[in-house]
């Protein structure tokens, strides 16, 4: 059984929304801008709480924002 990574489409959702900068999303979620950058680049898997807050900020269910990819 291969390992799994947490993938996301935070960058795509942010690009699709007009005024959602990294800083605006960071403020909405309560983390630093660098943490949002790390999440977008796949360098950090957020906690369930932060993942839910990010999904909520985009008005999407969490499974449409974060999902497991198996390698």
């Amino acid at each position: 059984m291969g390992g799994s990574n947490l993938d996301n489409r935070v960058r795509a959702l942010r690009d699709a929304s007009e005024h959602m900068t990294q800083q605006a999303l960071a403020d909405a979620v309560g983390v630093s801008r660098q943490t949002i950058i790390a999440i977008e680049q796949g360098r950090y898997s957020p906690s369930l709480e932060v993942a839910l807050k990010i999904a909520q900020a985009f008005g999407e269910p969490i499974e449409r924002v974060f999902w497991f990819s198996y390698s």
Partner: protein, 151 residues
């Protein structure tokens, strides 16, 4: 320029602290080595050297952190900051533990064979300072690695 501006306050703090600690640490241990070679490694000389360098380190770090705080407002720690600090601290704690156990083992085992380390409390003190220095450098390097390459 963009790469530097993308660094968080914590990363800038870790880089500055690592550089300052590295140069002052190297200068300290080089000076201790010279004093030992000259037979002048006494409590008074070591205390004077350590006091001057600790004050210098504090002044440099306070000044540096004031500058980076003026450039970039420090942020409240989020979950990633806490996780990075926890993991780096965990591993550096392990390094410190291994180093201290190595020194104690050397003292105990070396005592049987007449090791130089056992005969000099100043060398034991400096070996322990070196262990703390090593653990701190490891913690700062790991902090930067975890921030840049991910957890």
């Amino acid at each position: 320029m963009h790469a530097v501006s993308s660094l968080s306050f914590h990363e800038k703090s870790a880089i500055g602290t690592l550089i300052a600690l590295w140069f002052i640490g190297i200068f300290y241990f080089h000076s201790v080595w010279d004093l030992w070679q000259a037979g002048q490694l006494h409590p008074a000389s070591m205390t004077a050297l350590a006091t001057v360098l600790v004050i210098l380190l504090v002044v440099i770090l306070v000044g540096y952190h004031i500058v980076i705080a003026l450039i970039q407002k420090p942020q409240i720690d989020d979950e990633r900051d806490r996780l990075v600090a926890w993991r780096a601290g965990n591993i550096s704690g392990l390094v410190l533990g291994i180093a201290v156990i190595s020194i104690v083992s050397h003292i105990l085992i070396g005592g049987v064979f007449g090791s130089t380390l056992v005969q000099s409390p100043m060398l034991i003190a400096n070996a322990l300072i070196a262990a703390v220095f090593l653990a701190t450098v490891v913690e700062l390097v790991l902090t930067l690695v975890f921030y840049r390459r991910g957890l």
